[in-house]
Each structure stands twice: as structure tokens, then as C-alpha cells.
Amino acid sequence: MYDVIIIGAGVTGAMIARKLARFNLSIALLEKENDVGNITSNANSAIIHSGYDPVPGTLKAKLNVLGNSMFDQIADELDVHFKRIGSMTIATSDEQLETLKELKKRSELNGVPTELLSKEQALELEPNLTSDTKGALLAPTAGIIDPFNLVVHAVENAVDNGVKLFLDQAVVDIEYQNSVFSVKTTKDTYQGKVVINAAGLHSDEIAKMIEPIDWSLTPRKGEYFVLDHYKLGLVNHTIFPLPSAKGKGVLVSLTSSNNYIVGPSSEPIQDKDDASTDAPTLAEIRRQATELVPSIPFNQVIRVFSGVRPTPSTHDFIIGFAKSNEHFINVAGIESPGLVSSPAIAEYVVDNFVSKLFNLEEKKDFNPRVRRYHRLNELSEEDRNALIKQNPEYGKIICSCEKVSLGEIKDLLARSVPPTTVKGVKRRCRAGFGKCQGGFCSPMVTMLLAEHFHVSPTAIKWDKDDSEILVEEVKVL
């Protein structure tokens, strides 16, 4: 019997698990995928938004701004790349300049520091902006983060502090009898006193297992380009157009790994699992992006991808007890700005809901830090050599594009939330993230995983179910 069962190990579930891990509670974290943070949290803009544009008074506005302020500490404790590079929202007409002034007022209501820039000021900060720029709204607190390791490390930290993680099992049914939930998955049944529904795109389905709901989620797909490291300075901030009814629009940004990202589109779709990309949509993103930054070098594109986010019918995050059950907490409709809001959402959920159900006491031995990650690429030659002396595998490079060592990959495999797939390795340490997109290193990673898990290489998956990379061993003479 668990005190709390959290459904969904995306960024929302991960942050809630980590927050609850500080207290004397037994916690299970259930995830349908074979890795944490593998759906919406895996494919988004990776921006820690300042919070200037959500409608004042909404949960989105409140939790975005609070979440943003928490990230220096979180990034430090969880050892995740994070930089406050600031965002600039660009006006390209006099009409838009007026809207920018409205947004400035909105940012003040939300308590977000912003500054209106003239065309000259904007172009000085961002020389590659269009010459049609009329002005910009600078939000210095906006940042960029490594979204993959934010989730992986948050779950790792939760697990290191006692949370039990169960991967690869989807919740199929929930029963509530005698004050106990029985959460049935595709593999097992888990009993708990409280259930937190953080199932992302599927949180509507989970909520309906308890009661009929008066809200709905629309899957909305966003497609993106990722550019190679190219040269620094293409843009120094996250560049936004003016927000519209469809969202924040197509942005151009540096990423935490010094790549550039361009996107997203915003199309409502039917199939929640549809992560496809298509040429007309990408062409339209390209058109919109080059209106703001005309010189984007699209010949440096190394990958295109899409992510699906759950857009709620309520236009705000849906957080609270189920109407008919005060032990079931919905945390649904977490679309943008979900990533930045996630630590604040966790705090909000614990302070307003979980604390009403348990007498929360902080554990004395809670450790907010993950075990240190060694990223060889970021160390001095001296530190690197000290590490290689201890473990020569840190000297052998596996991914020649991103310069990831064998030692780093083996360290991942020894952790409490290890990767089991080639994509899992890629997301964590960037092997396969570069120019050649794993052309050179993916066979080595596949063989390494097979050796580590004592299975045939034909059992190693790229990503989800049925995504094995190899079909058979060829005849052995």
C-alpha cells in the first residue's frame, strides 16, 4: 500500500514525485513509456518562460512566474543545463508596437520584469533581427533548459530519496473501495491512499476512470527544426513574434546545448500519438521564422521533430480534487508554460491538496542533489585527466560529434533511472545528438546496451514498443 500513487512521469509527475519525496510518504510513480519524460516533456521548445504573457490571475500566470523564480536552485540541485538568456518579443508594425505596450502592462500585472526596447536597442542586442523590427519587449528572466535531463534527474533524485518508479505499464483501470485506490496497469495492480493524475495527454482518460468530467483536452502538435551548433550569435535571446490565439508563435532560440531551435507550429490533431512531421508545415514555420530572423541557416538543420501537448478546454491548468473524490487529484491540461511551471505546480499540489490529506513531515535525510554528473566536454584538461586516471573509459570517446565518452554512458547505466533504449542514452548524454545523428555511434551504443542488459542486440530498441533496431543475427558459420 502506497500513500501516494502518481500517474505519469513527465515533468509534472517528476516534479511532484521529487517534491513529495522530502516527506515521510511511500510513493509510487507509474509511467506507461519505457523511459521518463518521453512524450510532451521530450518534445517542446525547452524555454523557461518569463511569464509576461499568460492572462493575469490565471494559474498559468501565477505558476509560471513562481516556477521561473525556482529554476536557479533546481538546475543547480539537479545538475541540469540552464541559462537565463532572456526573451525578446518583436513587433514589426506600428500596430504590433501598440500590442507590445499592452503586453508590457500585462507583464507588470504578472510581476514580471520587462523592458520596452526601441528598434535600435533591439538590433544592438540582436543584430540578425529583421530590419522591419519596430521595437521589442525584453524579458530578462526567461531562460533555456535541457528538458530531457530536467525530468530524468528529477525522477532520479526522487528515486534516490525513496520513490518507487514503475516503467512500461499503462494504467488501464482505477477502483476506489474502502478508502483505497486499486490502480490496475498493463502489468500489475498498485494500491494507494491518494492518486495524483499527471498523465499528460492521457490525463482526461485517467480522470474519467473516477468520474465524468466537464473539461476536455485537445492534442495540439508543434513541429520544430533543430540546427547544428553552427556559430554562436545567430540569436542571443529567445526571439518570439507577438503571441496570438494559437499560442506563443514560432520562436527562434539558442538551446541549452548551443544548438538553435526553430518552431513550433500549432495544429489541433486527433491522434495523441501522432508525432509525425510534414513538409508543408515545416515550410510554413520556416517562412514565419525568417520574417523575424532572415538569416537562419537552414542548411544546418540536423533534425526535425514534433511534440504534442494537451490543450485544455478551460484555457488554464486544471489542478484540483476530483469532484466526487477528495483523494484523487487531477493535474491536467499542462500545456505551455508547463515546463517552467512544473516545480511551482508541484508546490501548489502539495501545499493545497496533499497537505490536506496527510500530516506531512520532512525527512531528515532528504538529499536534494543528484549524484554528480561528469560531462567531460565541460571539464578542464586537468580535471578530465584526473577522471581518466581513475577510470580510463572516460578517455574513450564514443560519440565523435558531441564528444561523449564511454565512461559517461556507463555512468548513466549505473544510475537509478538508467536508459534502456538508444534514444534514452541520446537524451541523457547527447551521444547521437550531433551532425551525424548517431550514424557513427548508434551501433556502439546498441552493442553496449545489449552487453549491459545481457540480451541480444536484436532486443535493443530505439525508443518505444516495437522499435527494435535490428531484425536478426546473420548466419554464423
Binding site: 527544426f225 533543430v226 551548433h229 500519438d273 501522432d274 508525432a275 509525425s276 512531421t277 510534414d278 513538409a279 515545416l282 538543420v301 540536423i302 533534425r303 526535425v304 521533430f305 514534433s306 567531460l376 584538461e381 578530465r384 585527466n385 581518466i388 586516471k389 580510463p392 573509459e393 578517455g395 574513450k396 570517446i397 565523435s400 560529434c401 564528444k403 565518452s405 551532425k435 551525424c436 545523428q437 548517431g438 550514424g439 557513427f440 548508434s442 551501433p443 546498441t446 552493442m447 542486440p457 536484436t458 530498441k461 530505439w462 525508443d463 518505444k464 514498443d465 516495437d466 522499435s467 527494435e468 533496431i469 535490428l470 531484425v471 536478426e472 543475427e473 546473420v474 548466419k475 554464423v476
Partner: protein
Amino acid sequence: MRKRDLVIIGGGSAGMAAAIEAKKNGIDDILILEKDSVLGGILNQCIHNGFGLTEFKEELTGPEYLSRFAEQVKELGIEYKLDSLVLSITRDKLVTYSNAVDGVVTLEAKAIIFATGCYERSPGAIQLSGDRVSGIITAGTAQKYLNIHGYLAGKRIVILGSGDIGLIMARRMTLEGAKVLCVSELMPYSNGLNRNIAQCLNDYNIPLYLSRSVLRVEGKGRVEKVVLAAVDDKMKFIPGTEMEFECDTLLLSVGLIPYVSLLDNIDVKMSSTRGAMVNDQLETEVPGIFACGNCLHVHDVVDFVTDEGRDAGRSAARYILGEVKKTIKIKVNPGNGIGYVIPQYIETDLNHDITFKFRVRKPIKDVFVNFESNGEVFHKVIKPVLIPSEMVMIKVSKDKLANIKGEEISLYLEERK
């Protein structure tokens, strides 16, 4: 800091040839840095034959070909380090590499030869449409899985791109029991060598569809279907021309790109080949840094890579020994019908023959290749057929070069009436 006369980055065919030639030209202090655990580079996985026709007048397999050079490297006592990846270089020719034995080491080199080969254009780089699932793999990666590790990456295969590795893999995977349904090529002509079309596709009844590309890939975990469609002369898909193939794999052979991020990182001037711009000594704009083989421009056959490696080795030796003087700077421009030309500059003098290497933009018959300076053609060669997949080499004698006036020359095609 340890000093070295010559550091060669990459121990494949270009790097080994460069090392051997530099040694023969009087350089003893040579170090080859190879990222793999054996010498030979990509040839290790090219177990088919057809290598060495020019070099040895024999048909060798990749491993046979490379071993002849690896043996020479060893016989000549040239030092090499395996499993050693170069992390960075500087314009002052400091080379930093990493391996498990030495750790991270920085060397100061008098000269550096880049022989880092090329990489395959990825699905992301061509912005492939559809589901991003398993079973989309580049031909060279599938080749490594099959020929090095012994695993087949698919059973029912559609190949996009008619590059040579794709053609070779069509035959190779067929021989291992896979069904190759077709090869689809975006361009109206094949990008592979004619002999590979004959021996790898025609002999196995594998159809080649020209002016067709992948409209989208469909699948859940793995590829289930690939939809091809015809493209018009602006590369736009033509509605109503869709062809659907149920398959588990889309193999990509859509181009090779010089692998030179280390040069990019120090802002060395690059050419349209995406390799460095070089002079008649195969020297980049940074004095003492040379480039050869597929990291300079992608070659059709390894014999030419070897030859270019030797040229770079000789040039580096002359540079180290102080025998090269730059007396001129003439820019070589690719003109009408020419995709690129190497070298991009003539910088030593005009008292030596120079071989110009280039590719045409599209297939063309019955043309003159004209070399022009100051409005006058100083050399003219007749070519009955030129195609983009075959690199052209034309040696121009110093007598002809003596007619160059001014600071630029251009190469262009002229149709014969």
C-alpha cells in the same frame, strides 16, 4: 608541450597514404590519430570488392585494400594511436586528443593533415516527412551493423537515394535474405557509379525509380509503410503519383558530407563541397593545415583518395622542410556547368603541372571543358560524357599554365555544336 612535425587526423585511406608519402619525403616525426580501434577507417566495413583497380590493377575488398597500406605504415615505423579522437585544434596547430591510455593530451604540430573522411546525410538533414520511428537508417550504419557486428537492420527495404553505399547495401542485404523493394532517387539521374547500378540493382531485379522521393513514412514503433511520389523539375511532389510500399525499413543513401567540424570550429574558409578551401598544395587557408580525401570532397573510389592523400603527405613534408614558397594567388572559379573545383587557389607558382578535380552539375554530353584566364581560353579538353556521380580530373601542364594572366581563372563547360 610535446612537439610533433606532422600530426595526421584520421587513419583511413587518405591518412595512411599521407603518412607513408610524408615519411618517404623525409619526415620521421609523424603521428596518426585514429578514432576507431583499427586503422583503415570506413574500408573496414566495405567487404565487397572493386577496390584497387587503379592503384594495384587488381580487384580487392576494402579490408584487403586497407591492409596493404596498414602494413606499410607499420613497416615504415610510423607511429599511430588508435581509439584516439581529436577533440579540438587551434590555428596555431595545437592538437588536443583523448584516449583511454594517454588521457587528454595537447600536442604542438608543425603541420596537420586532415583526413577525417565524411559522414552520411541524416533523415533529419533531409527533413524526412512522416512518423519518426525505428527502421529509418543510413546505408553506412546498416553496413556497419551487418559487416562488423553481424546483424541485419531490416527484412523488407525501400532505399531512398542512389548513392553508391545504398546500391552496395541493396545487394548485400539481398544476399542476407532481405527483400529490397526498390531504390528511389530524387534526381532524374542516378548518383551512383554505373557499375554499381548494373551489379547491385539490375543483377537482382531491383527497380530504380528516378525523379521520385519519399512523401512520408508511416509506422508506430517501426516503419510499416513508405509512400513514394514523383517530383517535378522544381522538386515538388506531383499529386496522384503516390506508390505505397509495405516495408520495415527505409534505408537512406542521400549523400555524404565532409566531416570537418574541427576546421569549422576555427573558422577555416569552407567551399561549396562543405570541405575546406585549399590551394594547389591541398593546404587550407591556415598555413600548415592540409586536407585530403573525403573530408575535402567526397570521392567516387578509394584509389583517388589514396592518391590525394599522397599529394597532401608530399605537400606537408615540403612545408615542414621549408621548401614551399608562395609567390602568387590565383583564384580558381567554377563556371558554367561546374559544381565545384579543387584546388580553389593556386598559390605556389605556375612552374608545375596541376590536376584540377571537379564535378559537373548535371549529366551532359559532348562538351569542351574550358580553362579561361583574362577572357582567353588557355586550355581546352573534349569530353564525350560527363555525369555528376563521376569526378573529373584534368591535368594541366605548366606550359599551358604559363599563359595565365591576372588573379583568377575559371573552368566552364561549352557545348560542342
